[in-house]
Symmetry: C2
DNA sequence: TTGTATGCGTTATCAT
DNA sequence: ATGATAACGCATACAA
C-alpha cells in the first residue's frame, strides 16, 4: 500500500526506481553511482517530485543549514536593510535564516541564543546592545556593531574613520565652529569611536568644536537647550553639526527650523547611517554605513569553517553622501 | 563514558535522573508523571541544561513549529513592518519564522514554496505579486494583499473603504476637483479597489474627479505631463490629489514643488499605506494600513487548526491620518 | 504509573 | 558499485 497524500521519502523513490535506499541517497548527494542507476533514480525523483526532508537530514548530520539573525526589529530601515542583505547572503550559500526580532529584550535574546546552543541552528548573527548575554563557547556567533568579548568576532563600520570624515567634510565645506551631538553615553562603544574620530578630525584641521552627549534616558529636548544656550545675537555659534545618527540629525533639523535657522545656509548638518527616506533620498548629508558589505562579511565569518583564528574586529569603510544639508556647491 | 562536549539528549537526562527515556519525554511534554520522578527529572534537566532538539521532534511529529514568510524584501518600511509584526505574532504562539526575501523573483518564490511543500515548515504567509505560483493543496498558505485563488485565504486592508475615505476627506477639506494617481494598472487588483472606492466616494459627495493610471513600466514622469496639462492660468485644475501609495505621493509632491505649487495650500495630497519617515512622521496625509492587525490575522488564519472553512478574503479597517499635506485646520 | 520498543527520513558503515 | 543496516533524538503505543 502506498501512503496516500504524504510527501514522498527516499524509500518511495528507491521503490519507484527499483534500487536500494542507499543508492538514492548517493544520487541525491552527488556520490559516485552507476550511470543507469543514476538516471533511473533521477527519473523517479522527478516523477514523485521528491525533495529531501531537511529535518531528518539535520537530525542525522547535526547540521541544519540554518542561522538565526538577532535584531531588535525590522521596522527601522537600518535594521530592515541589514536583515535583507544578510538573508540574501545566506541564501546565496544555501542557508536559511531564522528571523529573531528581539525588541532589544534581554530575555528574548537569551532565549534565542539558548535555542542555537543546542544545535538547532548552525550559528547566530546578532545585533544586540545587551552586554550580559551569555554565549557558550562552541556556538558560532558573529556580532554586529558591538564587541562581545574577544572570542566573538565583531563586524562594524569604521566608526572612527566616519567621525573623522564628518569633521573633515565640515571643515572643507567652510565651517568655523562645529558641535558633536550624541545620545546613549553608556550604551556601547561604537558611537564613542565616532566621537573620537570626529575630535581627531577637528584637531587635525584646527576646527574648534564642542560636544553635547546625553545620558541614557535623557530627553532629546536637552539638545534644544544646548543649542539655545549657544545662540548669540540671534545667530548660532556653530555653523556645522555632526549628529551621531541620522535619526538625531532629523530631530535636530526640526529644532533648528523652530529656531528659524536655515539648513544648510546658517548651519550645516551631517548625520550617520546613510538611511534613506521613502523615495530613496537621504534624510540628510550623512556618513553611509556599508550595509551590504557588513552583511556579507558577517555571513562569511560565520560560515567559514577552516579559519584558524577569527578576527576579533572587522571595520568596513564608510563613505560620505550629500543629502542636501551641506553646502557642497560652495567648495570642491 | 559520557559523550563529552556534546549537547545532552533525553537519554542523558534519563541516565542522570535514573529513570526511563519515556518518562523524561512525558515530563518535558507535561504528561502525568509521579511527583518524585518528576522532580528528579526536572533537576536533571536543569543540571544538564537540557533542551529538546527541535529537529528530532520535528521529524517525529511532522510538525516543525516553523512558518515561512515570503516578502519581496525588508528594506522598504511597509514590508519591514509586516515582517516584524508577523515575527512577533508567531513568537507569541511559540512558532519560529523563516524569513524569505524573494526580490519578487518568481523562481525564488517557487523555490521557497517547494520547500514548504515537503513538510519542512508548517505553513507559509506570503506577500507576492506573482499570479502564476503553484501552491499544491495541503500546504497551509495565507496570502497578503493579493487573492491567489479561492482555496487560499487572503488578508488585506479594506482598500475600497480606504479609497472612499480618501475621497470623503478631500471633500470635507474643501476640495472642488480632485484626481486619482496610480501606477501598475495590471499589477494586481487591490489598487483597483482603491480606485473604485475613491470613485464611489467622489460620486456620493458630488466631487468631480479625474484619473491618471500608468501602465506597468511607464515612467513616473507621465504624472508630470498629466499635471502640467491640467494647468490653467498658472493654477492647477485640481485642489486635491489621491495617490495610490505614499511613495507615489512623495514623488508627486516633488513634482508639485517644481511647479511652484504649494502643498497643502494650493493642492492637498493624500497617500496610502501609512508609512512613516525616520523620526516617526508620516510622509503625507494618508490612509493607514493596519499592519499589526494584518499580521495577527494572517497568523491566526494560518495556525487555526479546527476552522472548518477558511474565509477567502478578510478586509481589515483602515484609518486616516493627517500628515501635514491636507488643510485639517480649516474644517472639523 | 513507569518502562520498552518502534519508527520518523536520512546518512554512513559495512558486507557483498 | 550496490544493498542492507545502524544510528541521529524524540514521541508514543503497548507491555509490565
Amino acid at each position: 500500500m502506498n501512503k496516500v497524500n504524504s510527501t514522498p521519502t527516499m524509500k518511495d523513490v528507491a521503490a519507484e526506481a527499483g534500487v536500494a535506499l542507499g543508492t538514492v541517497s548517493k544520487v541525491v548527494n552527488g556520490l559516485p553511482v552507476g550511470d543507469t542507476y543514476k538516471t533511473r533514480v533521477e527519473e523517479a525523483i522527478k516523477k514523485l517530485n521528491y525533495q529531501v526532508n531537511s529535518y531528518a537530514q539535520g537530525l542525522k548530520l547535526q547540521k541544519t543549514r540554518t542561522v538565526a539573525f538577532l535584531i531588535p526589529n525590522t521596522k527601522e530601515p537600518f535594521y530592515g536593510a541589514l536583515a535583507y542583505y544578510i538573508n540574501i547572503a545566506l541564501l546565496k550559500r544555501k542557508y536559511r535564516m531564522l528571523l529573531c526580532s528581539t525588541d532589544s529584550d534581554m530575555g528574548q535574546e537569551q532565549e534565542y541564543i539558548k535555542m542555537a546552543q543546542n544545535n538547532k541552528v548552525d550559528g547566530i548573527i546578532g545585533l544586540t546592545y545587551n552586554p550580559d548575554l551569555v554565549i557558550e563557547e562552541g556556538t558560532p556567533f558573529v556580532a554586529i556593531d558591538r564587541s562581545m568579548g574577544s572570542k566573538i568576532p565583531c563586524v562594524a563600520s569604521d566608526n572612527f574613520a566616519g567621525g573623522q570624515l564628518a569633521a573633515e567634510k565640515l571643515a572643507d565645506l567652510g565651517c568655523r565652529k562645529v558641535a558633536f551631538l550624541r545620545t546613549g553615553a553608556s550604551l556601547n562603544n561604537e558611537p564613542n569611536k565616532r566621537r573620537s574620530g570626529f575630535e581627531n578630525g577637528c584637531l587635525s584641521r584646527n576646527l574648534p568644536y564642542e560636544m553635547k552627549i546625553l545620558n541614557d534616558g535623557d530627553p532629546y529636548q536637552e539638545f534644544d537647550d544646548f543649542l539655545i544656550s549657544h545662540m548669540k545675537d540671534g545667530k548660532l555659534e556653530f555653523d556645522g553639526l555632526f549628529c551621531v545618527t541620522d535619526g538625531i540629525a532629523y530631530y535636530i533639523m526640526k529644532v533648528l527650523r523652530r529656531m528659524k535657522l536655515r539648513v544648510p545656509e546658517d548651519v550645516q548638518v551631517i548625520g550617520f547611517d546613510g538611511v534613506k527616506n521613502v523615495g530613496g533620498d537621504y534624510i540628510c548629508s550623512t556618513i553611509v554605513q556599508p550595509v551590504p558589505e557588513i552583511a556579507e562579511m558577517c555571513v562569511e565569518l560565520l560560515l567559514q569553517e577552516n579559519m584558524p583564528v577569527k578576527p576579533p574586529l572587522v571595520c568596513l569603510p564608510v563613505t560620505y553622501a550629500c543629502g542636501g544639508t551641506t553646502l557642497e556647491h560652495m567648495k570642491e
